[in-house]
Symmetry: C2
Subunit: 391 residues, 2 copies
Amino acid sequence: MSAFTLGKTDGDARAGTLHTPHGDVPTPAFMPVATQGSVKALDPDDLKKVGARIVLSNTYHMYLRPGVEIVRSLGGLHGFMQWDGPMLTDSGGFQGFSLAHLRKITEDAIIFKSHIDGSTHYFSPAAATQHQEGLGADIIMPLDICVPADSDRATADAAVEKTNRWVMLCREAHTRQDQHLFGIVQGGLFPDLRKKSADFLTSLGFPGYAVGGLSVGESKHDMYEAVGFTTPLLPKDSPRYLMGVGSPEDLVECVARGIDMFDCVLPTRIARNGALFVKSGRVNIDNARFRSMDAPVEEGCDCYTCRTFSAAYVHHLFRTKELLAFRLATIHNLRFILRLMEEMREAILQGTFAEYHNAFNERFTAPDEATRREQKRKWLDALAKSKSTSG
Amino acid sequence: MSAFTLGKTDGDARAGTLHTPHGDVPTPAFMPVATQGSVKALDPDDLKKVGARIVLSNTYHMYLRPGVEIVRSLGGLHGFMQWDGPMLTDSGGFQGFSLAHLRKITEDAIIFKSHIDGSTHYFSPAAATQHQEGLGADIIMPLDICVPADSDRATADAAVEKTNRWVMLCREAHTRQDQHLFGIVQGGLFPDLRKKSADFLTSLGFPGYAVGGLSVGESKHDMYEAVGFTTPLLPKDSPRYLMGVGSPEDLVECVARGIDMFDCVLPTRIARNGALFVKSGRVNIDNARFRSMDAPVEEGCDCYTCRTFSAAYVHHLFRTKELLAFRLATIHNLRFILRLMEEMREAILQGTFAEYHNAFNERFTAPDEATRREQKRKWLDALAKSKSTSG
């Protein structure tokens, strides 16, 4: 089965269809993240209602708890979390970056020390692939090496070399015909290394290509530039997945540069902190100005939260730390992001993406660069220190 | 409007219909508790789906946050929390008991020190009534004095005297014709004081009568006995509401003794700790025996959780502290309780309540008395110390 049909392009932006054993996904697509087999605070019906067409889960977390064998015996991740749509799992490679204090990387594997009980776990390319076969997602990822944004050329090059070597081992280990194994382009901010990585992967041929190692501390400008010089290196008829990116402004900029798939914990993570997306940017629902606001969080929003409750009620739930707050905020932010994807797809199909892009930039104010990098750094620090290590 | 129609009795057990401006409620009825305007972790659709026909909210908490005036301006509690069914509010009297370290009781009022900011709040009978008029529930309660289970006769008598005096002031202050103001029978474990209280209230005449001051530290035996000698003191054609009681075994025993309405945070509170009701009693879903159980938490249960997920998945969500755990567990426990009420009503209508009662006692094992009292004591202690003070 081919993994992708390219429908229409508009500039570098693309509208297509991702094909998986659990159904088709219109692209550009955003994947909500179910780190531990649950998109935090939501059930599978909530996910359908916000418009999710594909979800991502993290192999390393599911491997630790409840364990691959238990998930497999309960029908794989699809049966376990009762999500019957398309699904992608990562390989554990990102945890090799984000949990740097808890792992050692050798020639053959990433060796993790569990954040739960300190036990040792050996993620070789073959093991990461076998775990993902047990979990049973439609799209699986090879074990890769992701390096920090400020890595020097030699470090970035070594990561490309090892990622390339490992992807061969993943291919060898991969037996399930009903799973697409993507390749991951590394190379940091170095155009020639991205080219080296992409050339290697495309020469082997994969059903899809991920762009890894971005949104790891570099500036927005650098990230957009790296995406911009990487997508042209990839075949037009394959899906391109930008890993770990998902703020509204980044989604629009990277769709404009030819990306088809995204995942990110940002929309759900900031929702739980009360930061909600609206047409003009982000608002903090905790702010006193929402205290008696008899209007939805975002006027005109079609999500359950906005159709049902006043901003004053959502504000109250956050102020009183009611559990419902997390679900309502998550529903809103995910619906915002998934509607954004739907609107971008429609604009591409209509040939009006440039206008959409301009209008978005005019109405939407993102946090400034310093705030954004500070937030990202804090999150990565928290992730590294956290007992749960999930987004 | 009459508040109640008695349909059928079976022994002392009663099946009837509670009438409110927001609809009828079949009795016996259990009211899930939305302390701060939200039944913790659930939305209003969840409440309908578990079979809730009436909910309770706490005046003291809503008065503090977000404040009665904000709730009133947003359509009362019905509009604020988007619950369009029947609703009851308490008066703050129970917080006069549970937050004993934060209040002073005078002749005229309970004076609270806010657990949020230390500010002082004067709950007179008239004020408690006005607050409830602003919140707009269908059934409201008078400000009463609730004393601990080990109170001596003089203390219990004084509480009856003051409760009786205050209920007159509540009646005087009560202006909304679309709200039923119930009376509250106090008197602790003293039959003659319960009679004194009931005689006074019934001589005035109320649309419904609550039995207060139970489940405050006494033994099960004493509570059942107190209910047993109190209900015969109340008019047959009025609803009888036992405040703060709601374990499965207590519900069955007290329906058997002529109670029509209940509220309790226990089913939702213990759900959040992973204690789930099943046909045979309580299980702790955190227990390792559920780790790979490919069957619902309770075989045959018609709740969303049991119809959708394996016990292994719910176990996993608790083990990994996923937010969805709280909602799924709460849905299950509430559905269990509300189905129990439906089954008891059906048995009463069929004239088979005694058989139902026996069968329940044979299959259902409640925690032993020592465990139960210890749990209650711990909860009341936690409530007294808690920053949130909500159940």
